[in-house]
């Protein structure tokens, strides 16, 4: 369904994507995994024909560069963040994009029902919350029931509940045979939605692994991100180091690599020493390497 062959794309002198090849059959679901700046969004934009790339991309056999219109007709796209025409009515927006997708009359009501925007038809887009806008974007992406869905960090602006509902909807679509290509930062998203994971690093495709293997490896390489008040952070590092762990100071706390079967060990050590842990997060190794020091590269800016 999607064939990406030896794609290269540069922003000035920086190679944003380099030598990436990836094939997705119909019904496949591939997550693009990687730190910010690894080239996920760039790759997605190449697939949509938004950027000029070298190499070849086809969607359903249509060359994106030469027959972009026909190729994009197969795709429903949900961007990371969307700036609609603010003054457009919700139903009006659905009809507008429906016409662009060649639907003679898009049933705005039914389309909006599908994503839970029932009753918001007559609102202006600027009256919608960020989450509602995201759902509207999904509704528009689903117009004409495209075979391919391309999603770029779509849950980034959603809270936990919204994220869950959104994922459930996407899982259902994947189950109905849609081809999914999506970029994500979140392990649970990848685990529930992807069949395969394409790992990008500095614009290169490092590997493509089945989702199960990937989840296991992520778990194996898990890093605990602990939020600890600044004055006692140094003491926490000393304590954990003494127990054979390798903590690192980080802007807001500590990063501690942990074995999958011993993830709670640092908590016990710190609790014994009466050092309060304000919050924690389990992050991937790649992600951990960038937390705190990273800057968003240009291509990922909204």
């Amino acid at each position: 369904m999607i064939r990406i062959e030896n794609i290269a794309m540069r922003f000035g002198k920086t190679a944003a994507v380099n030598g990436v090849s990836l094939h997705l059959d119909s019904g496949d679901s591939v997550a693009l995994w990687g730190a910010n700046g690894a080239g996920k969004t760039t790759l997605i934009r190449c697939v949509l024909g938004l950027l000029r790339y070298r190499g070849r991309i086809t969607l359903g056999g249509h060359d994106v560069r030469r027959h972009g219109k026909r190729a994009r007709l197969l795709v429903g796209y949900v961007p990371q963040e969307i700036g609609f025409y603010d003054d457009l009515g919700v139903a009006e927006a659905v009809r507008f994009f429906g016409r662009l997708k060649g639907l003679s009359h898009a049933d705005a009501g039914a389309t909006l029902d599908r994503v839970g925007l029932h009753g918001h038809e007559h609102k202006r887009i600027r009256e919608l919350s960020g989450g509602m806008k995201q759902r509207l974007a999904l509704a528009i992406a689903l117009l004409g029931d495209p075979a391919v869905l391309v999603l770029d960090e779509v849950t980034a602006s959603l809270d936990a509940v919204g994220r869950g509902e959104f994922l459930a909807l996407l899982e259902q679509l994947s189950g109905m045979g849609r081809t999914l290509l999506f970029a994500s930062h979140r392990i649970e998203e990848v685990a529930s939605l992807a069949k395969r994971v394409a790992v990008l690093e500095h614009g290169r495709l490092k590997e493509v692994v089945p989702c199960g293997d990937f989840a296991a490896r992520i778990a194996r390489n898990a890093v605990l991100h602990l939020s600890i008040a600044a004055p006692i952070r140094k003491r926490a590092v000393e304590l954990l180091s003494a127990e054979g762990l390798a903590p690192q100071l980080n802007g807001a706390g500590l990063l501690v690599p942990v074995a999958p079967e011993h993830k709670a060990v640092p908590f016990r050590i710190l609790a014994d020493a009466h050092i309060p842990v304000d919050d924690f997060e389990l992050v991937s190794h790649e992600h951990a390497a960038r937390i705190g020091t990273e800057r968003m590269p240009e291509e990922d800016r909204p």
Binding site: G89, G116, R124, S129, G130, K133, R135, S157
Partner: protein
């Protein structure tokens, strides 16, 4: 800026009352020859010549309808009258009628198709003797129309003279007088000719004529004591041009849309003791052009109660123009009301006298004591006009916002304010009301079409709006870039 004008209605009333009369008059001129069925078969050649030869002095020769292709020479004092549509056709060669005896009358003919030789001056009617009466003839497709050479005391009346459709340089004069004193020229219509020109002829009266699309509507050369009244000269290169003449009176003439490269309504060159009264001078390139006039200081040049409106230049003075007095004239929305060519000065001419000045549509003062005279002096000093007078090429920038920028600078910065071109100490607050004889050319009654165009345009605009509003509810306002970032669901 806005002239306080209340007498437009009264002018309209005048037009309405006089309108039908004017139309009837115009019709009578055009239908000089009675309309009878056209006889196309040519008459026997030489028949007119034989009849003239057979006639005695004082006879009336009636010529029946038909086409006569012979050259006609009238050498005895007879009256030659057309009965029905009698056509004298020159066949495209030479002259057609020549009058060599005094006291001849030629009436009611259609005379057409002279040669086109300018050197030979191919002429429809040439008069070489005094006291001729040429009336009610229709001259068509002719090079020279009526040519009076040393034919004093003649009358040229109610003729229609239409020139050949030639380039202006190859046309002849529709009407020419040469040493023909005391001639009366009235109610003629001349079009597509070169000039109507009067040479060395004194005491001539020119009245109620209409000339359009010629070079000079009327041109005087060395002709004194001529009165020119109630004529209309429209769309010629020049309406009336007076050269080297004296004691000329112009009254109640209409000079409209004369726009040739020189393009004057009235031009005065080295003319003396003239008066220009109650003329309507509208839409010409220059309404009045004054060069070296008055020629002597015997009498000031008189300009009274004229209306100069919508001309590119109202009056243009050459530096040689001195001693003119302008009072009670209306200067209405001429792009340049008064211009002085080159770097001359208007000091030697007066724009007010005693209590009477002129009406200036660009006068910006007011009249608190309500005496009809503005409380402030009218001074003409706009920077752009000043620039245009000095550098005529800059007229190209007329009507552009840059022109207004310059005028604004001229008003705002006294340092670059030009000297006042002239002053009128007693500017009139309201235009002087003048009753005019009705004219020929103006198209009236187009208001309805204008209204229709306006409504169609409004409909077009409204239609576009309606199509855009279709299905959308009214809400105005657009906030670019305001993207919600709340980030929560439900």
């Amino acid at each position: 800026m806005t002239p306080r004008c209340v007498h437009v209605p009264c002018t309209l009333v005048v037009c309405l009352v006089l309108g039908p009369w004017g139309v009837a008059q115009a019709r009578s001129v055009e239908q000089g020859a009675p309309a009878t069925p056209v006889v196309s078969a040519p008459a026997e050649p030489g028949v007119l010549g034989r009849r003239i030869a057979a006639a005695g002095a004082g006879d009336i020769i009636e010529v029946e309808a038909g086409v006569y292709t012979e050259r006609i020479r009238i050498n005895k004092p007879v009256t030659v009258v057309a009965r029905g549509r009698a056509v004298l056709d020159g066949g495209g060669n030479g002259d057609i009628v020549e009058i060599t005896a005094p006291g001849v009358t030629l009436r009611g003919f259609t005379i057409r198709n002279t040669g086109i030789d300018l050197d030979q001056e191919n002429t429809a009617v040439r008069v070489l003797a005094p006291r001729a009466t040429i009336e009610d003839n229709t001259l068509e497709d002719i090079l020279f129309g009526i040519d009076l050479r040393e034919a004093p005391d003649s009358i040229v009346r109610r003729n229609t003279i239409g020139g050949k459709a030639l380039d202006i340089a190859r046309r002849g004069d529709g009407l020419r007088l040469w040493r023909s004193d005391r001639t009366i020229i009235e109610r003629n219509t001349i079009h597509n000719g070169r000039d109507a020109i009067v040479w060395y002829s004194a005491d001539v009266e020119v009245r109620n004529n209409y000339a359009y699309e010629c070079r000079y509507g009327l041109h005087l050369m060395f002709s004194d004591r001529v009165t020119i009244t109630e004529n209309e000269f429209s769309r010629n290169s020049v309406g009336i041009y007076l050269m080297y003449s004296a004691r000329v009176e112009l009254r109640q003439n209409r000079l409209i849309g004369n726009r040739g490269p020189s393009g004057y309504g009235i031009g005065l060159k080295e003319t003396d003791q003239f008066s220009v009264r109650e003329n309507l001078i509208v839409g010409n390139r220059a309404g009045v052009y004054i060069d070296g006039s008055p020629f002597t200081d015997k009498q000031p040049g008189v300009f009274v109660r004229n209306t100069l409106a919508y001309n590119d230049i109202g009056i243009t003075f050459l530096p040689s123009a001195r001693g003119n007095e302008l009072t009670d004239n209306n200067f209405i929305d001429n792009i340049d009301q008064v211009s002085i060519a080159g770097r001359g000065s208007l000091d030697a001419n007066r724009f007010w006298k005693g209590e009477r000045g002129n009406f200036w549509s660009d006068y910006s003062g007011y009249d608190q004591n309500r005496d009809g005279v503005g409380d402030f002096v009218h001074e003409s000093r706009t920077l752009f006009e000043n620039l245009m007078d000095r550098e005529p090429a800059l007229r190209l920038f007329l009507f552009s916002p840059a022109q207004q920028a310059i005028e604004f600078v001229g008003r705002a910065l006294p340092a670059v304010r030009p000297e006042a071109k002239f002053t009128d100490e007693v500017p009139l607050m309201r235009p002087v009301s003048i009753e005019f004889v009705p004219g020929h050319g103006e198209g009236r009654g187009t208001s309805r079409l204008l209204l229709i165009s306006g409504v169609v345009l409004l409909g077009l605009g409204g239609g576009i709006l309606a199509s855009a509003r279709d299905g959308a509810r009214d809400r105005i306002g657009r906030h670019p870039g305001a993207v919600g970032r709340e980030g929560e669901i439900g």
